[in-house]
Subunit: 359 residues, 4 copies
């Protein structure tokens, strides 16, 4: 019911999004959108964003005098004049690890390979703009907040599990959203070292919410667990997702894995929430929590082997442009946005979000 | 385009499925369906299926003279007279780890809690019947096979990565689908020991396919990676999914993680397929491969704490019925079925499956 | 959100329906379903239903102790042993006016042509069963009733516009649902005469509702007007639909066509409702009203020309079986059901129907 | 599979559209889009378009070097600085016959009522831009053309049924697309006279296609007949649709209504095509043909009664702005566009349109 349609290629005129099904009367400003878009810039760590350009965007419809109208919200994020000359020598030569190969095989010579085209991480800027709307809806209706942090980056793990939602929110005031300062410093060192070696690193992020009202999720195929997994795995570079303790649960006994149900604050609560806030794939009044694995940026400044598809022969290519040494931090912001979008959709399906937010 | 609708509660008259969008002219027999349904029975390991009942099913429409008609296929799997007396004392007392709590919070007193109702693993029998149709479609059109095996059960891991698709297929001739005999024997021991202790275990399965034609998956939200993740995470007890090396990729450098592209058999191939057969979330002519974590069966024969929702007080319950010491093996069959269903749907969207299979 | 999936062929084992998305706690009995199924029998006018068989149906899931559970409701309507020998000589010889030609062209030799197969009016029995559920939901939530009557049958028109919703409801106590007794008698004469001549007739029905809460319908593609049109035009034999005065509005001036807005009962109302209860394609608190044109039954007992598709030559066929001299009365019951289904779906989308009906 | 998402309000920054699911390799130029947008301007008949402004639009994505890329095509049509002062006195005073009342009831004070906001006919410009893409796809794949003409305008009917598809196409070279010159002249007189009297008129249009390949349409709910009806009835001011002879068929006997099936050009054809090219709701290789009733423009320059919703009292309003004396000609262009969009979608579902158009 809350429909997000994105468009745009990395080296075209713009990327953008149409958000349909937004209730009327939600207070949303351009600043709300700008703030979310800025979260994925990481300009203070140059190896994460060598270009560090400002995002220029425009809201074309659906918001008037600071409030949503209930009509589709269209947002255009203009592309800067990108240097695409470099990409000429990559024509028909899919970069290992990138989506190029898939796009050439699907769309042939019509694929705009420059900067990864539509498969570029740039497309997620449009999702993040939509996420800003979704977050405003969640906050102003069911009072749910979504945040995230990095559990691991470049092999450096935070090694703590005793954090609160507020700790996680605050981690975004640091250079990298890692709740452990020591780990963060080491992770930054690793990023710099990897960049120096022309290499890249992956990471693991965790998305958390405050308590989500029970009953979100539709049995049996549109479970909240299922729709979150889909939304998250639609993000470029996401290669795995686990809810709660995830793969660790698979190694436990039932007696260890089961969250006991206790009475707290007058309502049934999970004593431990190892399961990540979902039972039967639906929300139960607990915070939701899952982890996402992001693979390393495929772009590296080292010779790699590929096939020239026009001549069907093996060639070696070396990427010479600037690249983000890890896309995990940016992708994590997109994961948050997708989470907010899925939650709004399911809250609507559960009848928890009116079509007009009364003031 | 290939739509699967299931229905039915654990202790109602029947569970079943309607499969819509099936091409005409696919050869499907009742034996094909029976064979798949039997794969989830595991009667030879009694702790995995204490009841071990035969499935009685009926095809109501859509198949005539051994061929699909192109119309919806409805299959009813009749429920045996289930002993539901036991469930009276569980009324309004959600079992820890089960979907009960979510269902009570969503549907209140209208929830049919007996045997887990609609949230029961029994519902997956309907998916498996649909999977039998999907597998027939895949085989008779794009020539793709889907199989699976257990990587780990009750903490016992196969500890090998040098297996072929055929090894995996053959593993189903053994008591448990584990390619390593020694690991399998130890896993069975663990199952028996856990059952003796009134406990349960989880596991990790892997789903594999033969080479999938390139181009399946729709950018950007309906990527094959995304739709597989959704389908798999809609299965009860699934708590995580990772594609290819998954979480291990997040710890690698780009230089290590990127699959080099080589020319093999006249077409571009991945040298290593660490990524699991998907780039940009789409198929690229490689086998697809992902792992799924299943949590332990929540039913255990030990006292557990819960809340009586009618009186809003904490109580202790002890499950006295029979239970499957691990649902992972059964759930793996459902994961295979869901994979086949998603592949048919995407092959249709890619225009690879005609509406009539010519004979 | 309220999803109806039907299955079954005319001469297969059964037709049936799965209704998904039904709120929990709706009181529905088998009698409610039986009553609606009986409305399409018209046994008292033998030329409308020469076979006049009782419908045997079974509710497989989703209803327990007289209340919906919130889970999919599956209903199977068993087919009687149909005499299908006759159809052997129609194999590959599409009957003029029937769906046969389309099905042969789409599904080739896999089309079950007996009795029209899936394209048979019999499929609408499944819709009517779903409509019984939908009507119960409407009645027990937003208090809306749906009814219908025949405006014209076999060229005989009621020639009155001064009827109330109650008049329309009561028309179903008569042999034919026509509010004008004289017209009804003449229509019955026409039916009998047409049957005697081996011919068939068409008709025009009108569907009406009581006042529908404002705001149903989603701009711009999923307007209520649009979804009703789709639902109605999915009924076999429906060839036209017009809302309010419909085609007559196209011949009026704006000054004549515009319904003035007046204050009545403390809220804005249309003075005249020529438009049929929808503005901007959405409900506005007025009753909804539209007319549907049904073409004559294609089956007639006269020689007709067709093409034998196996030999690709022109042939003459004469239908020898029993047929309904007009399908309009039956189809009208299906139109009512489809209307109720669309209204429930849109009331859900507008957030007017909770997931649990509190008792 | 071919998804069209529009956005934009009449007096906002822009209206626009995202077209998703377009195959790669379709030749589309900005001229193709401009040409379709121009067809709805009718500047040569000033009472049909008093403002007569040029459309300025921009293609933001999805087309490169004259060919579609297979990615979403985003088109923005900028709004001119509209004079919206006038609308201040219409605030909370819904204009009779307009969508205003529905929007106020649904979205309250967040409704942008200026120029009808999102419910304005201006939104259809976005559909027409999408229609230009759809027409290019149809032409370059299955070779189908779509056209339309006015059957009746302001009560003046063409009174001919002996026209060809080419006649219909050529009618667009005239001031009004009416195949009969005499009727056209009288219709123009009626338009001018109605405008002079501050009134407006409705009309009836007919949409026709060339031969559509058989098999488009999905039984039973997504019939082509059903989806066309939905698409057409989603157009503002459309109040009725009839396929083929439509309502006239309802008054015929079966012996008169049934199109006999004959062998022509080596394939089965309808001798007469009274049914409008669809049997069982699916295409059968015949041209498709249906008529649409458009009500008169609700805007008239006469006092009309309405309710001031902020003070809940009856008031009289008189529209003083410029208005189109009939929206039927413009709406007809939108009807053509929607038809093309539905045909592409169904041709894709039937597997007739590859994901890449090979050059």
């Amino acid at each position: 019911m809350f429909r997000v349609t994105t468009f745009g290629e990395s080296h075209g005129a713009a990327v953008g999004v149409v958000v349909d099904g937004v209730p009327a009367g939600v207070a949303v400003s351009e600043d709300d959108i700008k703030r979310e878009l800025n979260r994925r810039r990481f300009c203070h760590i140059p190896v994460l964003n060598p270009r560090c350009e400002d995002e220029e965007f425009q809201v074309l419809s659906g918001i008037k005098d600071g409030y949503t109208e209930g009509t589709p919200i269209a947002i255009v994020i203009w592309n800067k004049r990108a240097v695409s000359d470099y990409y000429q020598e990559l024509w028909m030569r899919p970069r290992p690890g990138h989506a190029d190969l898939a796009w050439y095989l699907k769309f042939g010579r019509f694929y705009d390979h420059r900067g990864g085209g539509r498969a570029s991480g740039r497309e997620t800027a449009a999702r993040i703009a939509a996420g800003a709307i979704a977050k405003a809806v969640l906050r102003q209706t069911i009072g749910v907040e979504v945040s995230s942090h990095l559990i691991e980056l470049g092999g450096v793990s935070i090694g703590r599990e005793d954090y609160t939602f507020e700790d996680v929110v605050k981690s975004w005031e640091k250079p990298l959203p890692m709740i452990d300062d020591e780990a963060m410093r080491r992770a930054i060192d690793v990023l710099i070292e990897a960049a120096r070696n022309g290499d890249s690193v992956g990471g693991i992020g965790e998305v958390l919410t405050t308590e989500v009202p029970p009953g979100l999720g539709e049995p049996v195929f549109d479970k909240l667990k299922a729709d979150l997994a889909k939304a998250i795995m639609s993000i470029p570079s996401a290669v795995g997702i686990e809810f709660g303790l995830g793969f660790r649960l698979a190694r436990m006994r039932g007696s260890e894995a089961n969250d006991q149900i206790v009475l707290r604050g007058g309502r049934p609560r999970l004593e431990t929430n190892k399961v990540g806030g979902l039972l039967g794939g639906m929300s139960i009044g607990e915070p939701i929590r899952f982890r996402v694995a992001f693979k390393p940026t495929p772009s590296i400044r080292r010779p790699q082997r590929t096939v020239d598809l026009s001549r069907m022969e093996e060639v070696t290519i070396t990427f010479k442009g600037r690249y983000d040494v890890s896309t995990a931090p940016k992708a994590l912001v997109a994961a948050e946005a997708m989470t907010a979008i899925v939650l709004v959709d399911h809250a609507m399906r559960a009848g928890l979000i009116p079509r007009v937010i009364k003031k």
